[in-house]
Subunit: 476 residues, 2 copies
């Protein structure tokens, strides 16, 4: 290569070099710059590159850097080395799929930003447990117990066996369910459980009935599966024949969300009969029964001998939302199919949280924690009801059942509860609108009290008072 | 109820009681027994039950137990209480879906047993990292760092932001990829990543090309999606036009499994051109490039400006299999779609392992760990090659590339390598058969060395010698 060619190459290289992310190691920057030059054919196939000494001198960088860059280019097939005769650019296919502008490849592009997720919980936010009362040290101890050589190995794709045994024990004592641990499938929250159910059991065009009010996340799953989604209310189950046939019905019999009512025994039996007659699956979504005001109720699963009930549970509210552990309890006939589905969709979940939870349950920390939380949540609910009762919102009825981790405050028709929620959110109160769980329900606010100590609750109620009163005044 | 009726009821109850799982609390056992009697109509609707005192006396159990059982039955709607007039069985729909034999409901049934997963790793087992050299204490420290109130909250469904930033930093330095953290989606191992790709981008009947040899897990995913699966070899990419059109092509350009060869630059460019012409997606499955013998190679993703390459990575081999963390790096055009898909399939993964890994990477523990493992694995490979070379199997060629966590030992045609693997497995050596990754490949054994110290390796080789020599002798 003649000297003027060398200067031309170097100038081009110099420019390329400056276009590369300066935070990368030097040899990689040079590698990327050279590669671009080669791919864009500014340096053609067959060209002999300058010696490492020459390039190092003209670019003012260390010779080792040049050597490393050349070695990488050789390893990747861009350069060929001929002993004693230097490095030559390889003859390569024309890279048609490279950017027309050879200066920068893969420039980071502006993306639609996802909503800010990880900020601290808002005032009166539902579904957040009492973080100030979480047994951090006991949980840390449980986490440690899994960090052993065995704990590093690939787990059972169906879920940690010890955790499944603990869940079976729990469901036996609490829900009257008698199942084999192999009927339990650990899922990433109940969300994944419901996804697997839709994925495995529902074909496009199948009719699916979902309880109202209910979670939107559930609706999205069945929409995505192409189902024809219909809705029903618990009280409609008095005349269960009016449901009509369906492939699957999902309900929250222990505790409706967000109103908290429970499905009575006679309606449970009627529904089981309907499911049997229509060969329909029943999905029992038991997201929040641990904090019911009364005694623990039996699961519908425990009543069903036709093996048509699938029970979905979650630890998101009894432990914490970030844990993302839930489970399905499957009829025996579905076990093999769902095991295979699990191998395909993700091959199993992280072992550490599962082992930690199993340990936490086995040593009694889980039930102790729940007992404490149940008492605490009853106190905090009472506190919120008192504060509301002493505020200017005292005339707004609290609707729905007691217990739980949130309460529902009804607002007069004409009030736009989603608008209210948006305004409240701007000032740090993260309530939810009842109408988003059921458009026909009428307006109202879902207010969480579980994570609120007295101060936080007072601040939340003060803001609520201000904003809701103003909205109500506009109605008059 | 007359006294003879009481005796009859009690006798039946007594029998029911004894059929219930004796490990449950007494009140629950009585509750279940009574419920069965009611549901099977042995005790009819409208019947007045004995007083708590009377039943307690005749069954010989405490009055509190009977009270609790009655209360639960009331809560569930099986009993009605009339003040001053005792407890009456509710009128209920006939429970047609109950088992004909009312004695036991939901008796745990024998299930097909899943294969034993959690036993200790076998000798010479591939894909297991060096457990004896894992930095347990550093990992525990990283785990602790996430156990804070913020760490308990629901995470970003796309994956922990800090972990995504660390991955972007790593890929920039190691793979020449310059991407935005929002292009990264954290997955449950690369298995979930590939599932999401199939789920989102492949319709039933689409043609999909998979590299051979290759993972069977990958094949299953695309079969399940209803794709028409074809195969190709890296060397066939010399004449890329022969591939024909396809929706998607999956390859392991950095390191083929199990043979370890790398796709040269000219073929990478040819493939990118093919993808552009055919509007096909390229899935770059980068499962094991960290332990290549040479320098770290650039990803195909970094060459592609048509945004048709999806990069799938995993921490299963660099960290440990039970972690189940991997990631997809998506073209910008797919980010929104995959974000939505993730919300539906599981709503996000457990936060704790993600935060721990982010911390582990950020403080430098990850790159230190990898450097040590790279050196260790080179030593262990050398050790295994030496042991084999000094054994009676010295004439069997070691095929495929160097480096990695396993090597491939060729056996003569006529040898059934799956049969060999089954025999070896019975005596604790967990090799894999090469033919199961590619039926046309010819017989051979995949032998892992990463997790084997000298003793374990010697034992493994001794067993291998014995069994393989015997099999070879039968060929003659």
């Amino acid at each position: 290569m003649d000297e003027s060619g060398l200067v031309r190459t170097d100038l081009g290289l110099f420019l390329e070099l400056n276009a590369v992310d300066a935070s990368l190691p030097s040899y990689r920057r040079l590698f990327l710059a050279l590669r671009r030059s080669i791919l864009s054919r500014r340096i053609e196939g067959g060209t002999r590159l300058p010696s490492t000494r020459a390039l190092s001198a003209s670019l003012g960088i260390s010779r080792n850097t040049v050597k490393s860059a050349y070695e990488l280019l050789q390893a990747e097939g861009y350069l060929l080395s001929r002993r004693g005769a230097g490095c030559y650019v390889a003859e390569l296919p024309e890279a048609k799929s490279l950017a027309a502008d050879p200066v920068v490849i893969n420039q980071p592009v502006k993306l639609p930003t996802a909503s800010a997720i990880n900020r601290a919980p808002g005032l009166l936010q539902p579904a957040v447990p009492a973080l100030d009362h979480f047994p951090y040290r006991r949980w840390q101890r449980a986490l440690q117990s899994g960090v052993t050589s065995v704990g590093l190995l690939a787990g059972d794709p169906q879920g940690d066996p010890r955790l499944r045994r603990e869940i079976v024990r729990w469901l036996g004592a609490q829900r009257g369910m008698q199942v084999d641990p192999d009927q339990v499938l650990i899922t990433s929250g109940s969300q994944q459980g419901i996804f697997l159910v839709a994925d495995q059991l529902v074909k496009a065009g199948d009719r699916v009935l979902l309880e109202r009010p209910g979670f939107q996340g559930t609706e999205r799953v069945f929409d995505a599966a192409g189902a024809r989604v219909g809705h029903f209310y618990q009280h409609e189950l008095e005349t269960v024949d009016r449901l009509g046939p369906a492939r699957l019905l999902l309900l929250t019999p222990s505790r409706n969300f967000p109103l908290g009512h429970t499905l009575a025994a006679d309606r449970r039996l009627a529904l089981l009969n309907w499911a049997r007659q229509n060969r329909a699956w029943l999905i029992e979504d038991d997201y929040d029964s641990e904090f019911s005001a009364g005694p623990a109720l039996s699961a519908m699963f425990s009543l069903d001998a036709s093996q048509q009930v699938i029970y979905a549970g979650t630890f998101s509210r009894t432990m914490f939302p970030g844990l993302r552990l839930g489970y399905l309890v499957l009829p025996v006939s579905l076990v093999t199919q769902f095991r295979e589905a699990r191998r395909i969709v993700d091959g199993g979940l992280s072992v550490t949280p599962q082992m930690a939870l199993a340990e936490f349950m086995a040593c009694g920390d889980y039930s102790r924690h729940l007992k404490r939380m149940k008492r605490l949540y009853l106190q905090r609910r009472q506190m919120l009801e008192e504060m509301l009762g002493q505020s200017s919102l005292a005339h707004l009825p609290v609707i729905g059942a007691g217990g739980g981790m949130h309460l529902c405050l009804q607002v007069p028709t004409g009030c736009d509860d989603r608008q209210l929620v948006a305004e409240l959110d701007r000032v740090g109160v993260c309530a939810r609108a009842i109408s988003q769980y059921d458009p026909k329900q009428g307006a109202g606010l879902v207010l969480g009290f579980a994570a609120q100590d007295r101060d936080a609750m007072a601040r939340g109620v003060a803001i609520l008072e201000r904003i809701v009163s103003a909205a109500l005044a506009q109605l008059d």
